[in-house]
Symmetry: D3
Subunit: 227 residues, 6 copies
C-alpha cells in the first residue's frame, strides 16, 4: 500500500504491527527515448510489487535526484546533492518520529549514491534506525542475468526499457558506447552522448525484462526481512 491511498489512522494502525517502510528515491532526468522519470518508475514498480506481497508500506516517491551531468538535456530536473541530502534526511527523520525503524531505500539512480553518507550520519545519531539500500541495476542478481544473455547494462539502454518506462518508439539495434574521459559537464555530456543513451541494445526481449524484474524483486523481498 502507498501512503497516497491511506490516511493517518491507517499509518498509526500499521505501526502497531510493523515498523518497516519503503522509500523510493528517484530522479527526473533524460533517459534517451524512455520516460524522464524512469528512475522513479522502476523502483516504484518494485516497491508496489513487494508491498503487495509483504504489506510493507511505501512512502510517496522522491521524484528528483542529483543529475548535474544531464542538465544539458531538456527535462532533467536536478537537485544539488546538498539539497537531496536534506530532503532525504527530513523524510526519514519524520518517519522515524512515528516509530518506523527499518527503512529500505529503493534507489533508481546512481547519482543519488551520496545520500548513503547522510543516512549513515543519521544512523549514528538515531540509535535503533536501520537502513537498507538497494540499487537494483548494480545488484549481483541483475548483473548475472545481463552476463548470461551477453548484454551490457548501461544508462537508458535495454536495462531500463520496461513497458512502463517506454514513452515512444525505440531505435532498433545497438549503439556503440561513446568514449568518455574525465567528469563530463552538462554541455560536454550532451555532445558526447547524443541521444542520451550510454550504448548497447536499446531493447531486448520482454522475457529478459521479466527475468530482471523478478530477480530484483526477489532481492527486495530478502532485504525487507532486515536480517
Amino acid at each position: 500500500m502507498r501512503f497516497e491511498e491511506l490516511n493517518w489512522f491507517d499509518i498509526e494502525n500499521y505501526l502497531q504491527e510493523d515498523d518497516r517502510l519503503i522509500l523510493v528515491l528517484g530522479a527526473c532526468e533524460q533517459h534517451g527515448y524512455l520516460s524522464l522519470t524512469t528512475d522513479v518508475k522502476i523502483p516504484q514498480a518494485l516497491a508496489d510489487a513487494a508491498s503487495q506481497q509483504t504489506g510493507v508500506l511505501v512512502a510517496p516517491a522522491i521524484n528528483f535526484g542529483a543529475s548535474p551531468y544531464f542538465l544539458g538535456f531538456p527535462g532533467t530536473l536536478s537537485l544539488r546533492l546538498s539539497t537531496l541530502l536534506d530532503l532525504v534526511e527530513d523524510v526519514v527523520r519524520s518517519a522515524f518520529g512515528y516509530g518506523f525503524r527499518r527503512i529500505l531505500v529503493l534507489s533508481g539512480h546512481g547519482g543519488n549514491d551520496g545520500v548513503r553518507s547522510r543516512l549513515f550520519e543519521m544512523s549514528n545519531e538515531l540509535g535503533d534506525l536501520r537502513i537498507a539500500w538497494y540499487a537494483w541495476w548494480e545488484s549481483h542478481s541483475v548483473s548475472q542475468i545481463a552476463q548470461r544473455h551477453e548484454l551490457k547494462p548501461a544508462h537508458a539502454n535495454w536495462l531500463e526499457s520496461f513497458p512502463f518506462t517506454r514513452v515512444s518508439d525505440l531505435p532498433e539495434g545497438e549503439k556503440i558506447p561513446p568514449k568518455v574521459a574525465g567528469l563530463l559537464g552538462a554541455e560536454q555530456a550532451r555532445k558526447v552522448y547524443g541521444d542520451g543513451v550510454f550504448g548497447g541494445h536499446y531493447e531486448v526481449d520482454q522475457s529478459i525484462m521479466d527475468e530482471v524484474f523478478a530477480a530484483a524483486l526477489d532481492d527486495v523481498l530478502v532485504l525487507l526481512r532486515f536480517e
Copy 2:
C-alpha cells in the same frame, strides 16, 4: 501532459513552441480521514485538467511540504522550510536552464507559503523568469462558493473532500472547530485537533465539489495566460 509520459526530445520540442510549466507543490501530511497526499492530489488534478485544455506541461510533483505542526500525526512527512526552499529552487532553476520562462506553481498546502520568498529571490536574479502562484483554497472564487453555500472552508474538511482524496468513510455531520491560541507544536496540535480536521462539515454534496473544482480550474486557466 506530465513529464512522466515524456522523454527529453519531447521537452525540447515543446520548448520550440511554449515556455510555460506547471509545478505541483504538495505535502504529505495528515488530512483527517482523507489521503495523506491530499495536498498533492488536488493541485495535480487541477494541473492535469489545465494541461489537457492548454497543452502546458506538468513537472513531476513535489510530494513533500513543510508541515512541522502535524508531526504528531503518523504519516506526516515534513520538510524543514529551508529544505523545501532549496528543493523548489533547484527544480525551478533546472527548468529555467532549458528555456522555461513562465512557471505556474500550484500549491496544495498553506505551510508552503514561505517558498514564495525564495521564488522572489530567484526572480530578482534570473531576469526574465516569471512566476505565478496559485493556492486554490484561498482563492476569491472558491471563497465565494463557500460563502454562497454557507460553508466554512478549513483544513481536511469538506473543502478537500474530493472523490480522489477520499480513502475511507467520513464521519457524518459537522465538527465544532477547536479553540486555538498561539502556534501549536506537534504534540499540542495532536491533542487539540483530535482526528486532524479543523472543523465544519466533513463532506458536502458532490455538486458543490464540482463547483469548487471548476472555479479553481478557471483560475488556473486564467493564470496560465500570464497576462
Copy 3:
C-alpha cells in the same frame, strides 16, 4: 521595559517572576512616503505599550525582514528568508536557554510569515516552549475597524500611517491600486507600484489610527496571557 535599558542582573531577576518575552520582528523596506522602518516602529510601539501595562520584557528589535520583492526601491535592506529563519532561531534559542518559555512574536511585516515554520520546528524540539504570533494588520479587530470606516488596508497606505511612522508629507486623496498578476520581481514591482504604496487612502483621521492602535494593543494584551 526594553533590554536596551537593562543589564543581565535585571533579566535574571525578572526570570524569577516571569517567563514571557516580546520579540519585535520588523523589516527595513520601502513604505512609500513613510519611514523605511515602519514595520519595526509599529510592533515596537505596541510592544512598549504592552510592556508598560504588563511588565513583560521586550527584546531588541529584529530590524530586518524578508522583502525580496522591494529590492528595486532604494533603502530596502532585505534578508534571504533562510537567513531570517536562522536569525530568529538563534535569538529564540538564546532566550529559551535562560528560562523564557512564552514568547510573543510581534511581526510588522507579511514577508516574515515563513518564520513561523522555523518556530514550529523549534517548538517540536524544545518541549515547553510556547510561541504566539501576532500580525497586527491581519487581525480580526483591525480588519473590523477598516470595514466600519469603509477603508481598505494595504501596504504603506493609511493603515501604517501613524504619527511615529511619518517622515514626510503625504499625498492627498486616494491611490488606485495597481493590477498585479503573478509574483512580481523587484524590478517589476518598482514599475507597477510607482511610489510604493499599494493603493487606497494615504492618510485618515488620527482618531481612526488611535482606534487601530488601541484594538491591536488589546489583542497583544490578550495574547500575553498565553491562555
Copy 4:
C-alpha cells in the same frame, strides 16, 4: 541621518550625491552593570555624531552579534557566527544593489570579528565595493588615551561606561581581572567572570570618557573619507 527617519525617496536622492553608508554591528550581551546593548549603543552614538558632521547615512543597527561565551549570563542573545555572516551579507548586498559603494562598518563587539572574512569574500565578488571596518576599543587612538591615564581597557569596565550605556549604579573601585586559560564555555565564563566585568576600574572621570569618544569619532571621520 538614520534610515529610520527616511523614506525610500530620500535614499534615492542621497545616492545621487553620495555612495557611503555606515553600518552599526552590535551585540546583545552581558556587560556587567551596563546595558545589554552596550555594543550597539556605542557605535550607534559614533555613527550619529559622524553622520551629523558629514551627512553620511546610517543603516538600522544590527542588534545581535556572536557572543556564545556569554550564554551563561541571562539576556545575552547570541547568533551563531554563520547566521551573523549571512545577516551582514544580506544587508550589505542589498545596499550595494542601490549603488552604495563605500561602507563603513562600526563594530561594537570583538566577537563579530569573523564577519570581516565574509566582507572580504564579498569584496572579491562585488568589484567596486569598498569596506572599512572600525572597532573603536582596539583603535590606536583609544589605546593611547588608556595608556596616558594608566587604565586597562577591558570588557564592560570603565571603557564602555558612557552615560548612555549605564543602566544602574556601578560598583566603586577596581576589580582584579580573573585568570583565564583556554576558551571558556558559557558555563565556565559565568563562574570565572562573576559580575561579567573583565576587571579594572568600573568607572572613570567623565572627562576621560569624553576624550575616548572624541578620539574614536575622529577616527570614524577619517575613515569616512575612504582614502
Copy 5:
C-alpha cells in the same frame, strides 16, 4: 612538486606553462592495522610519483573525508558529506581563479564519491574547467592484477598494505569477510568488522604491491594528459 615546497611566485610562473593540478582527496579513518591516513598516503604517493615524471603540481592534501560508518573506531575523523563538498569546492574554486583549468582529483577513499556531484555542478558553472577523477582501487588495471593473483581487494586488506601505510605488524593469513546486510551504523560496523579489515589477505608479496602501484601510476599519467 608540492605546494608545500613552493611560494606564490612559483605558482605564477608555473601557470605560464601549464594549467594542470593534482588534488589529493583522502580520509583519516580506521584501516585496521594500517595507518589512519592510508587514504591520504596512497594517492599522495601516486601524486608525487606522477608529478616527478610530468612536473604537474600537487596541492596540499585534503586530509579528511566522509567516513561516518567508521566513527566507532577511535581515530576516524570524519567530515559530514556536506562539509566535504564545500571544502573541495573552495579549494577547486580558488585554483580555478588563478588559471588552473585541468584538475585531476586522486581520491583515496570510496566514501568521498559524492564529491563528484559537486564537481559536476562546478563544471556546469565554470565553463572551461575540466575535472578528472581517479579512484585507484576501483580501476580496471588494479582489478586485473587482483584477479590475476586470485586476490580479493577490500578495505584495509593487502590492497592498501604498502610499506608506507604500514605502522605495525600485520596478522598472518586471511580473514573471512563478515556478512553485512544494510547500511551499518558506526556502532554496528565496529562489532561486525572487529579489527576493521573487510576480509581477505592482510598482506601479499611486495612484488604484487609494486605491480599495483605501477599500474595505478600508469593510469594517473594517462589521465594527466586530459585527452
Copy 6:
C-alpha cells in the same frame, strides 16, 4: 606522535591514558618568498616538538584556512569561513566522540580566528569539552622577543622565516610597510602588498628564530597542562 604513524588500536590505547589532542589549523596562502604552507609548517613543528616531550597526539593538519584577501596571489587556496567552521567542527566532534576532552588548537593563521566562535558554540553543547587556542605569533612571549630585538613582526617577514618555511632565497634588507586603509579585497591586496610581505626585515639571525620557537614551544607546553 602523529595520527599518520598510528592505527586505530593505538588511538584506543592512548585514550586509556590521556584525553588530550593537538590540532594544527593552518592555511595555504601566499607568504611572499616563503612556502605557501608556512601557516601549516610552523604550528606543525610546534606540535611535533610538544608531542615529543609530552606524548600528546597530533591530528592530521587542517591544511587550508580562510584567506579571502590573498586570492589575488596564485597558490592561495582559501576556504570560505563558513566551510572552515564546519570542517573544524566535524574534526573536533569526531575526536570528542572517542573521549578526547582537552583539545589544543595550534593556529598558524590569523584569518582563522573566527573558528573560535564555533568552538565556543561546541563547548556550550558538549559539556566537558575543553578547548585551548594558541596563535603563536600573537603570543606575549613572542612579542617580547620581537621588542627586545627591536623587530616588527608581520605577515611573511622574518617572523615566519624559519629554515623549514624557506623555499627560496630571500631579499636582503627591510621592506617599508605599505599603507593600508579599509579591508583590501584580493585585487587591491595584490597591488598594495607587491611581493606579499607586510614589511620589515625579511630575515633575521637564526638565533632569534630559535628564541622565538623555544618561547612558543614553552607556551604550548604550558597550555597542554590545561590548568
